[in-house]
């Protein structure tokens, strides 16, 4: 039985069969959600915006990792570094070439994509854990180059970058307006990723993930598919870095350590492999956890006194680890799978199965 769609919906042609949002209710809900995301900053104020904007940036990055790891099944332990490439691309283009942010934004993605393809080439020969180690090498190489190419990147001192100025009368130096920019880019990238997943390349990615030998024998060029997955995923990471970096108007190589790359993977598990919703959920949970862990700092101060400063740094790590372990034990397929189950049981109500 097919319970992947709401009750009472039928397809009259093959165009309908591929629609993502079938019922008027779901279409309305999607529209309402998008509107709500644009209205929220008027409600939550400065503090809310300072959480929402990074969530947007990380959502884009998470979508990229979802493409590489969730869809194509190639574990990448270097994703944060590609985000860093996006940040530094914008900073360098702005500083040395006088690019505006708008012009630098696509380049941030393209440069990350090019580097991603280069480091994705080992995927032609390796898979599984071996490939994971190759991407780990990518992480170290990228961080090493950035921190030692002092004449260009300023080494570990970081670089300044600027947000876009005024466009069409909108002043993007204002945090709220910048959030709208970040949100819009996120919406576009989500749209692209969603379509990627449901068209030719998306199916090829899953085919390579599920059975690469069969995929090759069924006419899919596994090598280019894998490399393309790395390229596109890193494009997303680069754009994510540009959006996130410009928000702080500063970038430092210490922002994307190995631990960030690993948290990326961890929260992808929390969100759920192999779905767009899972990527978004993972990014949201990550940043919300981040905030929660800083919120409890005053509490620890009351308990631990002077030691609280050290404790709070450890707190976020504890938080992260706890939630990832919880998910690995109780719901290894992540939030997205849980959400599917909820939808399913709602559709089948009052029947238990």
């Amino acid at each position: 039985m097919n319970i992947n769609r709401p009750c009472g919906t039928f397809d009259r042609n093959y165009f309908q069969a591929k629609e993502l949002y079938r019922t008027p209710l779901r279409k309305t809900l999607l529209a309402l959600f998008i509107i709500a995301m644009y209205v929220i900053p008027f409600v939550v104020g400065e503090y809310g915006i300072s959480i929402l904007t990074p969530i947007c940036a990380f959502t884009i990055g998470m979508l990229g990792l979802q493409i590489i790891t969730g869809y194509a099944g190639q574990i990448s332990i270097g994703h944060a570094a590609f985000m860093g490439i996006g940040m530094y691309t914008v900073a360098i283009l702005q500083k040395y070439f006088g690019f505006s942010f708008w012009l630098a934004l696509p380049f941030s993605g393209l440069v990350a994509m090019a580097v991603g393809i280069i480091f994705g080439i080992p995927a032609l020969r390796m898979k599984g854990l071996y490939l994971a180690f190759a991407t780990l090498a990518a992480h170290f190489v990228i961080v090493y180059v950035i921190s030692n190419w002092r004449s260009v990147t300023n080494g570990t001192d970081g670089m300044y970058m600027s947000r876009p100025g005024v466009l069409f009368g909108i002043d993007f130096t204002d945090d709220r307006n910048y959030y709208f920019l970040a949100l819009t880019v996120t919406a576009i990238m989500t749209y692209l990723a969603t379509n990627l997943a449901r068209t030719k390349l998306g199916r090829a990615l899953v085919a390579v993930r599920d059975n690469d030998i069969a995929a090759e024998l069924m006419g899919i060029n596994v090598g280019t598919t894998k490399v393309l997955a790395f390229g596109i995923g890193c494009f997303f990471a680069g754009v994510s870095g540009a959006i996130g970096g410009a928000y702080y108007e500063y970038v430092n190589v210490e922002w994307f350590g190995l631990d960030d790359s690993i948290w990326y993977l961890g929260f992808l598990v929390v969100g759920g492999f192999g779905s767009i919703f899972g990527a978004i959920a993972g990014a949201v949970v990550w940043k919300v956890m981040d905030e929660l862990s800083t919120l409890v700092t005053p509490l620890t101060e009351a308990l631990l006194g002077g030691a609280a400063f050290y404790a709070s740094a450890a707190f976020s790590l504890l938080f992260y680890s706890l939630i990832i372990i919880t998910f690995l034990v109780f719901e290894p397929r992540g939030i997205s799978h849980r959400w599917e189950m909820i939808k399913r049981s709602y559709r089948l109500h009052p029947f238990p199965y």
Binding site: N2, L196, A215, L217
Partner: protein, 289 residues
Amino acid sequence: MRDITKKREQRYSYGLALLRECIEKKRLWTNNEDEKKAVLRVENIDLSFGDLRALNNVSVDVRGHEILAIIGPNGAGKTSLLNVISGFYRAQRGDIYFNEEKITRFSSHKIAERGICRTFQNIALYSGLTVTDNIIAGRHPHINYNFLTGMIYFPWANREEAYQRAIAEDIIDFLELEHVRGSVVGMLAYGLRKRVELGRALALEPRILLLDEPMAGMNVDEKEDMARFIIDINEFLKIPIVLIEHDMGVVMDIADRIFVLDFGNPIAEGSPEEIKQNQKVISAYLGTG
């Protein structure tokens, strides 16, 4: 009863209409004389794994419109032969010609694009995709847009997707998979998965179809269904089919020619009647040789 007859008639009038249209243009033979000509020629193949000789000087032809059965005891090298043809194993010696083109050194996906499509002895589906998506994934080389078009989802990408979906539904109808079209294949019964695999091979627009034990592990009903599908595909699409099968009853019934392998050696080739009488085959099967 009447329903079944009606369904059968329907199959003959519409069966695989869209797919037939795609394949018609690329078919390897047109008139009845060509039909007897070899479209796939395997010449003097040697394949060893270390000391183990899996194939020893194997030559075989597949003709334009026949069902060729490959039989032989377990470990005879039947699967290895298919793997060599589809480029998964590299033969140490020998050549393979498809439609007079030498494909020995082609990479597997190129060979599949040429129209040499196959199923696997151990089911190799994309377990995370639904039945429909598995079949559309089989259409991969024949989908006409690049990934950027897909990501932006231009109207023509949408139209192309709908067309591919129509072909997939055509195949689903033909293989009677309607009731499971939305299910994830990992959860399906064994017999159904075998059928989905056949569907995915069909989606690739085969000009020759290689089936590796499509009926293994099935009950009698499922076997009959599968035999019917194989004969119908051979009739509708007018393509040759290479069939590895252990059930001698089925082989004798549906094969036009039989090729017998034993420990990597070709020991006989001929019509079912000839094979039935062949002394070498009998001894190989009874283990006295």
